[in-house]
Amino acid sequence: MTAGIGKPAAAARIETPFRRFASDFLESRIATAALAVFAVIAFIAVFAPWIAPTDPYDLAQVSVLDSHMPPGAEAFDGRVFWLGTDGAGRDLVSAICYGLRISLGVGVMSGVIAMAIGCAVGLAAAYFGGRVDTLIMRIVDIQLSFPSILVALVLLAVLGKGVDKILIALVTVQWAYYARTVRASALVERSKEYIDAATCLALSHRRILFRHLLPNCLPPLIVVVTVQTAHAIALEATLSFLGIGLPITEPSLGLLIANGFEYMLSMKYWISVYPGVALLVTIVSINLVGDQLRDILNPRLQK
């Protein structure tokens, strides 16, 4: 928030594309705040074992006597459960830190794999054209005509539970969006002169694809990355809540919410509410960052 605003001396510095990009981004206070919030969440997720007050899955540190404690209650040894405890006596602050780690980890990893596959397929479709293009895009169209939750449901029903299975499901759901985006912008870029020049220099296909074409397709791709990561995190939480996603040994935010659901009717609201708030803040902050990226990367909106 402080970097871009209140520094009129920026003119003295050389304007690189990245600096222009950064200062454009920081113009929106909401997006900057969202980025800061997301940075904090990512920090918590990465360093959860060092930040969380307790290890909620170390049985030595958890006592059933502490179960169902409301937020702010004190344990026998004087610790305070700021967000209360769940049905097994786990401190919810710690459980949420660990849950974020799993939710973000699965979401980001599936995004990276899907992006790699989608980029390769989309580039190939745009670059080679013809039958390859028709076939790939037909598959993409067909897959996108089914809602993501149905595709995930089919795969998980066939594959079963597990981290690797949910990764497969999330990657399958996402790759088509990347492929379509990359193909669309690669088609535009392909007809430009620098690609003709590179072809005339007899550079290899691979070099043209990955060193010339791909970097110029990045702007729309960056927007899709944010939207899809948020989508993947929400979908994983939903599937885990339904009990068909992650196994009980990988307690993501969705599983924490599912655990709390059974206590909801007895007014022990905090077990479901706080993991949900954490999930919500994560998704909304990513979406807000994505919205701002879309605005500044869209050539039609550029000043």
Partner: protein, 325 residues
Amino acid sequence: MTVFIIRRLLQSSVVVAVMSLLVFVGVNIVGDPVDMLINPEADQAEIERVMRDLGLDRPVHEQYGYFVVNALQGDLGKSFIFGEPALQLIVQRMPATFELAIAALLIAVVLGIPLGVLAGLRPEAGSSKAIMAGSILGFSLPSFWVGIMMIMLFAVMLGWLPSTGRGDTVPFLGIQVSFLTWDGLQHLLLPAINLSLFKLSLVIRLARAGTREVVHQDYIKFARAKGLSEGRVVLVHLLKNIMIPVVTVLGLEFGGLVAFSVVTETVFAWPGMGKLIIDSLHELDRPVVVAYLMIVVLMFVVINLLVDIVYSVLDPRVRLQDASA
């Protein structure tokens, strides 16, 4: 036109074939079909009899043939839990799911269009910004969590509405429906709102974008110049013109509502197809899972096919594009 339809039909049958292969491979090759298809409580003689019936003692390609032939005859196996044919179980639950999806669609249209038009007519007003912020939330919030919050607020804390089940149902055109009884309507309200939130946000955005575009058109200016009342300009001239994209998208999204009802039905214990498949997945009731997947995929293929055909009738460019590709 005929060529176009034939091409699309072929494509649809490829999708169904791939789907059946995927499900078949998943159930019969990745897993152990004896565990999955035969009730674990059956004795040895029973297991052998069922294995022969299902053709599990045959080579794999013949087994797939059996599976396809049985599926085409509507025989997708018997549920372990209920002992009834899986197909029949699903068909019984269908009205509940469709009732929920239609109710959600109605809410999305009835609330979404006025809100979207309002936001589009005065884009700078505070109320419009609030509506748009709400629609961003509707897109971002995971619907299962919103459902839990709704139960907490309206069912547990305020005690206004029930949180589970369908309530009293009465027969209507031969199927049981909830919306004709007061009790059933109360039960329907929360799940329908929950399921509609995502589509509601979508309709708001479409209506707003449409309004902002249409409001600057000459025929709106002309209507105003003629001295027509603001109400008539908005309700007749504007509304008619923004309905086209809204109706198109909603037609496409109905299938999505049925798919996403899996989540809402689980949260609100609504006894539809979605809850049935989640319960069956937990109880390893494979025949029901297989039947549900095949039916829903088939439903989507049919919806997509119909949409494609309607589009090609309405917009000949779609057809031409397809022919040149």
